[in-house]
């Protein structure tokens, strides 16, 4: 079962055939999504009616392309807005968590670490509804007490950001902690000996060392925020991010515009994914 141990050729070839089949299975759905973005038909299905770019650039109904479909453009904007906030918040908190868990020993550390991991094993829908219920009860209490309105605690973008932040922070913490663990603390001590302040040493030496992990965590956070569905679904208000908008359109019958959006998403996420790998590679070389 390893290259140095001889195997019968039938076994070897059937293994290879299985692996090939698996990769076909993996590639098939994404490929058809991409191909049908160019089909000159009103539905993303066969028969093939010829090649067109109308689903990207078309301006006349029913062939309105992505770049002229207002609801989709607005949703992309909303998603980007949410993603930037989620990435910023979760990377900031994740960096603090990493320093806390790697550098400090304190009572209840193990317990807090397990609590920190919990969002990984709570289903997204549950995270969504629990935050929804909690925010609404806080809003109700505050409104009863003060007579003012607290729209930020009602379903809407703030709750979507908080909902995604609640579990993406765990991923950011894990990525950044892994890198911080590899840091040689004598470098920081040397800086202190040379007269640097504690914060100065961290800023000049430790943070630059962490930068690849911080950037990587940020990219992962943006990707996860962009594609999140379950948590967002429960917290969304009138402005909906891209996944929710696409889901609504999909339920009411799909057009190849969705294929065109998906193709753009595939390109974007593949690029971002490869970028985050490059960051991780530069991390390994050091």
């Amino acid at each position: 079962m390893i290259p140095t141990v001889p195997q019968s050729s039938v076994l070897k070839w059937s293994y290879r055939a299985y692996v090939t089949l698996f990769f076909v299975y993996l590639a098939l759905p994404l490929s058809v999504v991409c191909v049908f973005a160019f089909n000159n038909s009103l539905f993303p299905s066969l028969p093939w009616e010829g090649f067109t770019l109308a689903w990207f650039f078309g301006t006349e109904a029913p062939f309105i392309g992505v770049f002229h479909e207002r609801s989709i453009l607005r949703a992309i904007g909303t998603s980007a807005f949410v993603a930037v906030w989620v990435a910023g918040l979760s990377v900031a908190v994740g960096t603090c968590n990493a320093f806390l868990f790697v550098r400090h020993d304190f009572r209840g550390k193990g317990m807090l670490y397990i609590l920190m991991l919990l969002p990984l094993i709570i289903p997204g829908v549950i995270l969504g509804i629990s935050i929804l219920v909690f925010a609404s009860s806080v809003a109700n209490t505050l409104e009863d007490a003060t007579g003012l309105w607290f729209d930020g605690l009602r379903p809407g973008l703030i709750l979507v950001i908080l909902g995604q932040f609640s579990f993406i922070t765990t991923f950011a913490t894990l990525v950044i902690s892994a890198r911080l663990q590899k840091f040689d603390q004598s470098l920081e001590e040397a800086a202190l000996n040379l007269g640097a302040t504690r914060w100065g040493a961290v800023r000049q030496i430790t943070l630059p060392f962490l930068l690849p992990a911080i950037t990587g965590a940020g990219v992962v956070a943006v990707l996860m925020s962009f594609e999140n569905f379950n948590t967002t679904l429960m917290l969304v208000g009138s402005d909906s991010p891209l996944t929710i908008t696409m889901f609504d359109k999909l339920k009411h019958g799909s057009t190849p515009v969705l294929n065109a959006v998906s193709l753009l998403l595939i390109i974007l996420s593949a690029t971002l994914g490869v970028l985050s790998l490059i960051f991780q590679r530069s991390k390994n070389e050091k």
Binding site: M1, Y15, L26, F226
Partner: protein, 287 residues
């Protein structure tokens, strides 16, 4: 002075963590439980009791959907493990250098793409006017268009597809760290392929298997998109019921009870999985 400063630093680092955990994880879940045990008796009047849970157990549709969701998620997990293990083994043990990186990357790409897009791809493939139906007509296996969507098999295909990457990644990581010479030693001592798999490979890969299974089970159980889009009207999924109670019916009390039951189920199974395999959450998830 110095220790005062580091104490201040410690509390400054601790506060974002506590703020995050308390306001977004702990209090909301306690709140969810509190709502789930309150029964509506009149307009804005509530009583504490387990009535919402009684509703769940008395209505066959609810608990059957619950059981169905659990069973199908377990099936998905098993299927994913069986399908993914040979692939992970192939990548980790039989490939070297650039080919290995490329294959691994090819596994990761669908995982970066939104779940909605992946499910959409399966809809295009499986629907009545879709690629598979047309292809089978073209090669003459079937006479007219056939609907492959909207059944349990379609849900399974979609769920396995969505989650198999979360099985393969931890498996590759653990198998990668297994020294080839151990396998060679196994052969030298006269072990068969099967006994080596059972005695050496699987025990070594156990942390990866457990972490993969936990993540896949969790993702399937909590999935909403795939069952709704690929399963059609008759195939209910528990998250769908939660959504209906919360958003459509506005019955938050019952919805919370449902949510809590789903959370209890997923935690119980994760806990049992960790206990049976003698792994800890910190080891498997906090790699």
């Amino acid at each position: 002075m110095r220790s005062d400063q580091s104490k201040l630093g410690f509390y400054l680092l601790l506060s974002p963590l506590l703020l995050w955990l308390v306001t977004l994880i702990i209090l909301p879940h306690m709140g969810l439980f509190a709502v789930s045990i309150s029964e509506k008796v009149g307009v804005r009047e509530y009583e504490t009791g387990f009535g919402n849970y009684a509703v769940f157990f008395n209505e066959p549709l609810y608990w059957r959907t619950f059981a169905r969701t659990a069973i199908m998620s377990i099936m998905t997990t098993v299927l994913t493990l069986l399908l993914g293990f040979p692939i992970a083994y192939y990548i980790a043990k039989l490939m070297r250098g650039r080919a290995k990186t490329t294959l691994f990357l090819m596994c990761l790409i669908p995982f970066w793409v939104s779940e909605l897009v992946r499910t959409f791809g399966w809809m295009i493939l499986l629907r009545e006017t879709g690629v598979l139906s047309n292809f089978l007509q073209f090669i003459g296996v079937i006479d007219g268009p056939v609907e492959f969507l909207y059944n349990d098999a379609a849900i399974m295909v979609g769920l396995v597809y969505t989650s198999i990457l979360f099985m393969i990644v931890p498996l590759v990581t653990t198998l990668d760290s297994l020294d080839d010479s151990l396998i060679e030693a196994g052969y030298d001592l006269g072990g068969s392929g099967f006994s080596i798999l059972r005695e050496i490979v699987i025990p070594h890969a156990m942390p990866g298997i457990v972490s993969g299974c936990i993540v896949v089970f969790m993702l399937s159980l909590g999935n909403y998109l795939t069952p709704i889009l690929l399963g059609g009207k008759d195939s209910l999924w528990f998250t769908g019921l939660i959504y209906t109670q919360f958003i459509t019916r506005f019955n938050w009390e019952l919805g919370s009870a449902f949510g809590f039951l789903l959370l209890a189920l997923s935690s119980t199974i994760v806990f049992l999985g960790l206990k049976l395999s003698r792994q800890s959450l910190t080891n498997t998830m906090g790699r």
